[in-house]
Amino acid sequence: MSATHSVDTAHGTGLKLSWAAADSWTMTRRELAHWARQPVQVVVGLVFPVMMLLMFSYLIGGGQGIEGDFKSYLVPGMLTMTMAFGLEATMLSVTQDLGKGVIDRFRSMPMNSGAVLVGRSVADMLQSAVGLTVMIAIGYAIGWRWHHGFASFLGAVGLLLLLRFAMLWIGIHLAMVAGKAELVQAVQILVWPVSFLSNAIASPESMPSWLGAIVEWNPMSATATAVRSLFGNPGAVGDSWAATHAELLAVAWPVALVAVFFPLAVKRFRDLSR
């Protein structure tokens, strides 16, 4: 072996873990550097959900004459929807990455093989946390309030980020399976009906009963309902099991989705060598 080697060939688990953490951080820094070089794109990403919130609360909500109540119903729903829409952002970034030769370079290097995905997830979660902060601030500015103290507030934020984390792994997996720009477009369209098939914006009571049942079991509805209750905002009142166990489902759904899509995504990434 030549003396010029810089690279670890040690087998200690501790060392391996610390390299895995270092590699993941390097990959996270790569994403942060992308933001620094494309500030406009970052701002557009933050402005879009804010625009949606303002449109729904002033144009649609106002038109229905229930502005006061509707706003306290709407804001937690829009926060949920913003987290769910993260799926397409993740899918788009991963699809773009996979189309580039740089992934080949990463895979030909002695780095931790999971670091590419971990870096992506840390960066996307950071971006979502910033996005969520902006949305909460704008919500506050237009008159929305939470009523149940700081611990409940943090619980609600935690549930929102948990939903985002589940969307992240679905997004990575879809990008690995599809890996084409056209399919990203399809998903960008499909997130709309899926979001509207939840109680994020409309109450399931206003829908036909069969549709209402679907809506109540939508993971987004569970998060929205649980978050409304933690914020002390008015929620959709239903007496189905899904509606009365929203807190449980708001944890169980994302955990189950991560449990399915995390291993699938990691396997897909490893199988790039086939």
Binding site: M1, S2, T4, H5, S6, V7, D8, T9, W19, A22, D23, T26, R29, R30, A33, H34, R37, Q38, K100, G101, V102, D104, R105, F106, R107, S108, M109, P110, M111, A115, L272, S273, R274
Partner: protein
């Protein structure tokens, strides 16, 4: 010095994509410290071989050892000893050249300070210091390729793979990359490069392996391969078709006559002698030539020759 004589050993390598047998029992042995060229047309299996040797693809069947290490069972150890320049630029286009090199240095576990120092060193070596902080999107093709090459040298690899390093570059970019590769050879690095251009293999490689349909069809030094195809060729284009036969009788060796292009051509062993002799002979015979050119055999000619041989 490395503790192995053969930097690359490939035995009976097979790989199938759907119905297509991309590699069909390929064998290869590359001595440490030499430059090995892999020559072949599109679809011959060049990229598949490189991707397998550089751990991006798992070998389906057969044995592959790089730097004395089995790529199937100890891929990560192989990765710490190789550099790869793929066909597509394997750098992050959004980041600057320096950011890229520093990132790759960190991922090679050089540590933050040494990664930064190594990035500066490589930028200087490849003449990219001035543009180091520009995003790669703004680089020219040749600059991008040089940065890509710099990235594959971060860890001072023992074995360097270059997959069609100059495809798509203009002549100037090609010369830049050739010079960079030549300067590497002195360091004792083993280089394996694939190319579609006989000239490139000729310029850079100590030995050349010609592959087609996932199999080796010829192997040897550039001179050995060229002598198999009958060496260089001389082409003489005339004004007057009527003089073709007389011109043909003046050329040495087996002469091909192409009436449509008013051209006679033949293979020659000594370029300069053949050229002067032909010019003199034509002048003495009073035949006016429109164009006379001595050229190396094209890859097509090498292939036609080699595949003819295989068929026979």
């Amino acid at each position: 010095m490395p503790d192995y004589d053969l930097a690359i050993v490939v035995e009976g390598l097979r790989k199938k994509y759907g119905d297509k047998q991309a590699l069909d029992g390929l064998d290869l042995a590359v001595r440490a410290g030499t430059v090995q060229g892999i020559l072949g047309p599109n679809g011959a299996g060049k990229t598949t071989v490189v991707r397998t040797m550089s751990t991006l693809l798992r070998p389906e069947e057969g044995r592959v050892e790089v730097a004395g290490i089995d790529v199937r069972t100890r891929a990560r150890e192989v990765r710490s000893r190789i550099g790869l320049l793929g066909q597509n630029a394997a750098v992050d286009e959004e980041l600057s050249g320096r950011q890229n090199l520093e990132m790759f240095g960190r991922l090679h576990h050089l540590g933050a300070r040494r990664a930064g120092a190594r990035a500066d060193e490589l930028l200087a070596r490849f003449g990219l210091t001035d543009t180091g902080n520009k995003a790669i999107k703004q680089y020219s093709g040749g600059m991008r390729r040089r940065l890509d090459l710099a990235a594959s040298l971060i860890s001072q690899p023992e074995v360097l793979f270059l997959d069609e390093p100059t495809t798509g570059l203009d002549p100037r970019g090609r010369t830049e990359v050739w010079n960079a590769v030549r300067s590497l050879v002195g360091d004792g690095t083993t280089v394996l490069l694939t190319t579609q251009y006989l000239e490139e293999a000729d310029q850079l490689a100590d030995r050349i392996t010609v592959i087609n349909h996932g199999k080796v069809i010829a192997e040897g030094t550039a001179d050995e391969l060229k002598s198999k195809t009958g060496g260089d060729r001389i082409d003489v284009v005339l004004h007057d078709t009527a003089q073709l036969a007389r011109a043909a009788s003046l050329l040495p060796g087996e002469v091909a006559v192409d009436e449509n292009r008013r051209m006679v051509s033949s293979s020659v062993s000594d370029r300069m002698a053949a050229l002067t002799e032909t010019v003199r002979a034509l002048e003495a015979a009073g035949i006016e030539a429109e164009d006379i050119a001595v050229r190396r055999p094209t890859l097509d000619e090498v292939f036609m020759h080699l595949t003819k041989e295989v068929a026979a």
